[in-house]
């Protein structure tokens, strides 16, 4: 029980820690989590990450959930409740922004190996930094071929994300948040960047180009549906989820090819 006092100050925010959809992800879980590191911001074992009535998005918790904890003792291992205590105790900048390079790399690897089984819990924190980078890279490779179409890329991705969000909320037992959908679709845009970089070097309008385009669309939609299926525990619906993803990536491919 010696260490119990240290934990007690952080475990009291019972209503906050259930939902881990925050970008900053500063939640300690109620149960002792073997995966949490000393700064412990990224919580893998969050089975309640998608609770809520079917069709309803879990409410976004306020960012300032645990600043109001009355902490009598100064605990150096709990940076998030001590914003004002000085420069040395601030968390690192990247952590505060919620950008975790290790996670970004892991998710990228999951997309790049379409046959590897995906872990459902990697999508628990919604990370839009990676997808933003991929969208910009896609626009940049299009720019190299002379097509200035950033507007189309953003517009189509916004509409596509909205459509997938509505569809997945209707089709799954648990709901999803918009950030999660946007994050998954953004990560799976990575093979499309490969396609458009091919388009810089060769023209994609021959038979070879059609075959490459079709296989890359298949790759993107297969990984996106694989991640959605494992994150939302939908059974027997992988092809049904893959088809709208294929339509969306097909529109992106149309932009790169024509």
């Amino acid at each position: 029980m010696a260490g119990f006092d240290n934990f007690n100050t952080d475990f009291y925010q019972s209503s906050y820690s259930v939902d881990d959809q925050n970008q900053a992800g500063y939640g300690y879980s109620n149960t002792e989590d073997p995966y949490s590191k000393p700064y412990g911001q990224y919580d893998y074992s969050q089975p309640m990450g998608y609770t809520g009535a079917p069709g309803m998005v879990p409410p976004q918790q306020p960012y300032t959930g645990q600043i109001f904890q009355p902490t009598p003792a100064f605990t150096p291992a709990s940076p998030q409740s001590m914003y004002s205590s000085g420069f040395e105790d601030e968390p690192p900048l990247l952590e505060e922004l919620g950008i975790n390079f290790d996670h970004i790399w892991q998710k990228t690897l999951t997309v790049l190996h379409p046959l590897k089984v995906a872990d459902g819990s990697i999508m628990n924190e919604t990370d839009l930094a990676g997808p933003m980078v991929f969208c910009l890279a896609f626009g940049a490779t299009l720019l190299l071929t002379g097509k200035i179409q950033f507007g189309y890329v953003y517009g189509i991705s916004a509409i596509g994300c909205l459509g997938m969000y509505c569809l997945l909320n209707l089709m799954s037992m648990t709901g999803v948040s918009f950030g999660c959908v946007a994050s998954v679709l953004g990560y799976c845009l990575l093979p499309m960047i490969i396609l458009s970089s091919f388009g810089v070097l060769f023209s994609l309008q021959g038979m070879m180009g059609i075959i490459i385009t079709a296989s890359i669309i298949g790759w993107c939609s297969f990984s996106a549906s694989k991640i959605f299926i494992s994150a939302l525990a939908m059974d027997g619906q992988q092809l049904l989820v893959a088809y709208p993803c294929a339509l969306l990536y097909g529109v992106f491919a149309l932009i790169s090819v024509f």
């Binding site: 079917p54 069709g55 309803m56 998005v57 409410p59 976004q60 306020p62 960012y63 300032t64 600043i67 109001f68 902490t71 100064f74 001590m82 914003y83 004002s84 205590s85 000085g86 420069f87 040395e88 189309y152 459509g163 569809l167 209707l170 089709m171 059974d235 027997g236 619906q237 992988q238 092809l239 049904l240 088809y243 709208p244 339509l247 097909g250 529109v251 024509f258």
Partner: protein, 284 residues
């Protein structure tokens, strides 16, 4: 030792010696923020904390209100029933839409008064196929126009909105005629949308065949799909609109049943008309 550098008592020091100030603030501050770091002051100021808490509560309250109101107009839970499908169901249903001649039992099975989910009963209507069919139809139309060099992004919007408007007109007409004929049926509006949306599958098949094989391919496949949709619609709606006796195939004379039969045939005949109307300008 005195030097050119930092003497706190010097009225104009060459640089500020802040080492002593840092030690004073360091570990003593637990509550209010020090003034040296304005970024900290923002977060620790009680007024701004209060404002943030109020703002977030306002946002969640607004979201709740929006969800509640949305639920009144679009019944989300009822819609979820129509999306409870799986791959096997979709595959079989698509096969049924193109070849409905071998299927024998067209009744929707019930479970204690509520219809069974589409996942478990192939005769139940769903909204996944119509929705995907609609979106695919718009994209294929864009593709077809692109091959004729008539493509521009506005065309996609025009095609989508005109198809949507025709769908709405058709559903409203069917609803009106069901009301006029005073049929006691358990067809809901969403069911009618679903049944009207099944024709997009045939349209897509026709347009794709037209792209691959030219006008002959288009006409042949469209003819096949029109006949299939006609048979499919009659067999499905017959059970819903006609009385039980007539639905079983026995000949029941009577003005009411005849009227219902004509209504079913009219609805079924409207499908091929729409299919041709919405696709003939796409294939040259």
């Amino acid at each position: 030792m005195r030097g050119p550098s930092g003497d706190p008592s010097d009225p104009s020091p060459l640089f500020d010696d802040t080492s002593s100030e840092v030690n004073n603030h360091g570990h003593g501050d637990v509550g209010k923020g020090p003034d040296a770091y304005p970024g900290q002051a923002f977060l620790s100021d009680p007024m701004s904390n209060l404002a943030m808490a109020y703002g977030s509560s306002l946002a969640s309250h607004g979201k709740e209100m929006m969800d509640k109101n949305l639920d009144r107009f679009i019944p989300i839970s009822k819609l979820k029933y129509y999306f409870a499908v799986d791959t096997v169901y979709v595959g079989k249903k698509l096969g049924l839409l193109v070849f409905p001649y071998m299927h024998e039992n067209w009744e929707v099975s019930y479970q204690q008064d509520t219809p069974v989910a589409p996942r478990f009963d192939i005769n139940a209507p769903d909204l996944y196929i119509p929705m995907m069919g609609f979106i695919t139809y718009v994209l294929v139309a864009g593709l077809a126009l692109g091959t004729q060099n008539r493509f521009s992004p506005e065309i996609l919007g025009i095609q989508a909105s005109s198809a949507l408007v025709w769908l709405i007109i058709e559903v409203l007409t069917v609803l009106l005629s069901l009301y006029l004929v005073t049929v006691n049926t358990d067809l809901t509006t969403i069911d009618l949308v679903a049944f009207s949306g099944y024709k997009y599958v045939g349209m897509i098949v026709g347009v794709v065949a037209g792209l691959l094989f030219g006008r002959t391919g288009y006409y042949l496949s469209l003819l096949w799909c029109c006949v299939s949709i006609f048979v499919f619609t009659i067999r499905t709606l017959r059970l819903k609109i006609l009385s039980e006796a007539a639905a079983e195939g026995r000949l029941v004379r009577g003005a009411k049943n005849q009227l219902r039969m004509y209504l079913t045939m009219a609805i079924a005949a409207a499908q091929p008309v729409f299919m041709y109307w919405l696709t003939f300008h796409l294939v040259r």
